[in-house]
């Protein structure tokens, strides 16, 4: 594996991405895990299949991991090869709707929160 993934863990102890994942049907969960398995094994420097991962926001980069109409937004940790999977939305049309925009905006906030907590030693260093 060239990349690993983990769910974002919020201040209040919730994991919004994981909650969304658990609400998916088994086939959709397999679809999502297939995307993780594919992308995790894509060699650095190569692009993953467009049907599995796409860019949702540039600078900072937020990607969406796909499972049918489901999109799971993710950002990269500052050092290392782990992508933090934050939130979820449904993409019904050709373009991302307002709900999707809000999830991407929240992902950017979550990224800021993640970086701050990691630097403060309160994210991974918890008991």
């Amino acid at each position: 594996m060239y990349r690993s993934f983990e769910w974002f863990w919020a201040d209040d102890g919730s994991m919004p991405g994981f909650d969304a994942f658990e609400s998916l049907r088994p086939r959709e969960q397999n679809d999502f895990e297939g995307s993780l398995d594919h992308w995790g094994n894509v060699e650095p420097g190569q692009r993953p299949a467009q049907s599995r991962v796409n860019a949702e926001h540039e600078r900072p980069l937020v990607l969406a991991i796909k499972a049918g109409k489901h999109r799971f937004t993710a950002f990269r940790e500052p050092r290392g090869h782990t992508w933090i999977v934050f939130g979820h939305y449904l993409k019904e049309g050709e373009k991302r709707d307002k709900t999707g925009d809000r999830v991407v905006a929240r992902t950017l906030l979550a990224r800021h929160n993640y970086f701050k907590r990691v630097n403060n030693g309160t994210y991974y260093d918890r008991g």
């Binding site: 894509v42 299949a49 994210y123």
Partner: protein, 156 residues
């Protein structure tokens, strides 16, 4: 300055297995996930060949006498429903041969050689497509020289 723990270090400390590893303990789920990975690898391989050959989706559509949205669908998950003849046509339009291959899962050196040779033909081919664990979609083998091209690597 205090040491800041990374995700990898935290994971090692936690131990345990990953979600995909746990799901793959179920053979039915493992088969479904592996099929999705194989399809994604074929799509990625097609993207890679198009980059190597400097062929855009519009150009591929022109060569196949198809509409650009059809090619766009192929490149965004449509290949999972593609017929073998469709793959043959795509390969033909790219100047490649589509070679179906059922490769035994043995530890035979010839298997490794086969995979090495295939990877040699298409630089940076997706590992899982070139290691044909599942060969339902076969292989695409280059039949003419190509040049690499700088591509957008923001996702890479």
């Amino acid at each position: 300055m205090a040491h800041i723990m990374t995700a990898d270090e935290a994971r090692k400390r936690r131990g345990g297995t990953t979600l995909v590893e746990r799901s793959k303990r179920d053979p039915v789920r493992a088969a479904q996930i592996n099929a999705i990975v194989a399809e994604a690898s074929v799509e990625q391989l097609l993207q890679r060949i198009m980059e190597l050959e400097h062929v855009t989706a519009a150009e591929l559509a022109r060569r196949m006498n198809a509409k650009p949205p059809q090619i766009s669908r192929d490149l965004h998950g449509g290949l999972s429903r593609a017929t073998l003849s469709r793959l043959v046509m795509i390969a033909e339009a790219l100047g490649y041969d589509f070679v179906p291959a059922f490769v035994p899962r043995t530890k035979d050196r010839r298997r490794e050689k086969f995979i090495e040779a295939y990877r040699g033909l298409i630089p940076n081919a997706p590992a899982k497509a070139s290691a044909p664990v599942k060969s339902r979609t076969g292989l695409v083998v280059r039949s003419r020289s190509s040049h690499t091209k700088s591509v957008d690597r923001k996702i890479a």
